[in-house]
């Protein structure tokens, strides 16, 4: 009891451990698991990442004006939903060209708000996939 009594007294003169969060940003480690990033020029459209993704946050959907790439025979476009992603990096491990076509950054995904239409747009894409 006495130790914590004096500890509390000593703590009065120490700087607090907590930080003013939005004003003082939290330092992110280099290996922090953040959003998945993609380079469509390097992609070979093997669709391995789509199969590996546990929550189904990566979709290759046929579109009218697909990105120009000679490997892209079916006219697919990469779609990624950071709000569905669990950042497990299964897709990066499945990718035949990791770090070039698909890699994991250490950036935090932004918070989804109503204007993003997270659900509606994504459900449409899922419909297209079927």
């Amino acid at each position: 009891m006495l130790t914590s009594f004096f500890k509390a007294l000593a703590n009065l003169f120490k700087t607090p451990k907590t930080i003013d969060y939005p004003l003082t940003p939290i330092a992110k480690d280099e290996k922090y698991r953040g959003v998945i990033e993609y380079n469509q020029d390097e992609c070979i459209y093997c669709l391995k990442c789509e199969k590996a993704c546990p929550p189904g946050a990566i979709l290759f959907v046929p579109v009218d004006n697909p990105p120009i790439n000679e490997k892209n025979k079916k006219g697919l476009k990469y779609h990624y939903n950071p709000h569905l992603c669990i950042y497990c990096s299964e897709c990066v491990r499945a990718c035949p060209k990791p770090q070039e076509a698909l890699w994991q950054s250490n950036k935090k995904g932004h918070i989804g708000i109503k204007d993003d239409k997270i659900n509606d747009d994504w459900f449409e894409l899922e419909e297209l996939k079927k």
Binding site: M1, T3, S4, K7, A8, K17, D29, K31, Y32, R33, P54, P55, I86, Y87, C88, S89, E90, R93
Partner: protein, 361 residues
């Protein structure tokens, strides 16, 4: 004239951040009957595992059963799938798995200790332990890239390696934590007001612990030698200095001391792993599909976790049964509460370290 009063705790209660309701039937402040309701967050994960996800994705699904013992869930599931496929993983992967499991145990036990203090009305201790727990969380972030959901274990091994510089950093942080744990040890044994609150309160006798199949720290505090780490052989726990902790009093104080001793033991194990990490691959590709049925148990921070997996050789599993530690301790909880004082109820409850998102899965 009714003589008893009903006091509810939960499902939204300041002492209990978990969605559970305990209904205490009290005479004055003495509890004579307990009723519990746990289904507030039932998410149907067992069903989802057999209908929505393929077997290799389920490791990530079951990790979401619980935030605190996420790694134990994915570990147990992965072990049962590896058993069904029949592959062997490398020694290094096994050691790294233990490292993460023990780190997880450390932070979970620290959370429990701080919560017990908070429910005993000792906010300063709560803040102190929670502040120190950040060190462990940082270590976990350094290793896995995330603080809570590690997604570290996959079928065949682990996902990330650690290098020498990182190991050194972790060792120095663990030493800091060890010093702090010794400080708590002093506080928990010597603080007069905590001893009034904890000693001789919420007793579970040895016989009752056997009869109600108590598990985890709850059982070990009563003197049952029940630690699943001692009863399995697919992780090399004997090589790294695992010691079973045991007390005989069975009160809250004994449970706290069990947790504190386990903290020290876990830190020692982590040190041993980091110092003697074998060379080798961290991942072996396992071929084949699971077939058959297996029961795998593992020691989560709160006690024994069991997975029953039945597969039929296809990518979809037939049945996944998760038995979580808190779920099977509910009969023991109810037994301890009967006869206790209501003023002690929150502290007793916190000393069980209940995890209701596990329970309702």
């Amino acid at each position: 004239m009714k003589k008893t009063i009903n006091i509810p705790i939960g499902s939204q209660h300041i002492a209990l951040l978990e969605p559970v309701r305990f209904k205490f039937e009290c005479e004055n402040e003495k509890i004579v009957g307990v009723d519990s309701d746990v289904g507030f967050v039932h998410r149907g994960i067992e069903k989802a595992c057999t209908t929505k996800f393929k077997y290799d994705a389920i490791g990530y699904v079951v990790a979401r059963v619980c935030g605190l013992c996420a790694i134990t869930h994915s570990m147990t599931y992965t072990a049962s799938i590896e058993k069904l496929i029949g592959g062997e993983i490398t020694q290094k992967a096994k050691y790294l798995r233990i490292l993460l499991l023990e780190l997880d145990r450390i932070h979970s036990h620290m959370l429990c200790l701080s919560h017990t203090c908070e429910n005993a009305g000792f906010e300063a201790m709560f803040m102190r332990i929670m502040g120190d727990r950040e060190d462990i969380m940082e270590i976990q972030e350094l290793i896995t890239g995330n603080r809570v959901q590690f997604d570290y274990i996959s079928i065949g091994g682990v996902n990330r390696d650690i290098d020498a510089a990182l190991a050194k950093k972790i060792l120095s942080k663990l030493e800091l934590v060890r010093q702090k744990v010794l400080g708590y040890m002093d506080e928990f044994t010597n603080n007069w007001s905590l001893s009034l609150k904890f000693k001789g309160v919420g007793i579970l006798t040895l016989d009752d612990a056997y009869r109600f199949n108590a598990i985890g720290p709850l059982a070990r505090a009563s003197g049952v030698q029940a630690d699943v780490r001692n009863e399995i052989d697919y992780l090399p726990y004997n090589e790294i200095g695992f010691k079973m902790q045991k007390h005989t009093e069975g009160d809250i104080n004994a449970r706290n001391l069990i947790r504190l001793n386990e903290l020290l033991n876990s830190i020692e194990m982590c040190n041993n792993i980091l110092e003697g990490l074998p060379e080798g691959e961290i991942f072996t590709k396992l071929r084949g599909k699971p077939n058959g049925e297996s029961v795998v148990r593992f020691e989560a921070p709160r006690g024994e976790l069991m997975y029953y997996v039945k597969a039929n050789g296809s990518a979809m599993l037939e049945r996944v049964r998760i038995k979580t530690p808190t779920f099977s301790s509910i009969p023991a909880f109810s037994h301890i509460f009967t006869g206790a004082n209501y003023a002690d109820a929150p502290a007793i409850l916190a000393s069980f370290d209940p995890c209701l998102s596990c329970t309702a899965k």
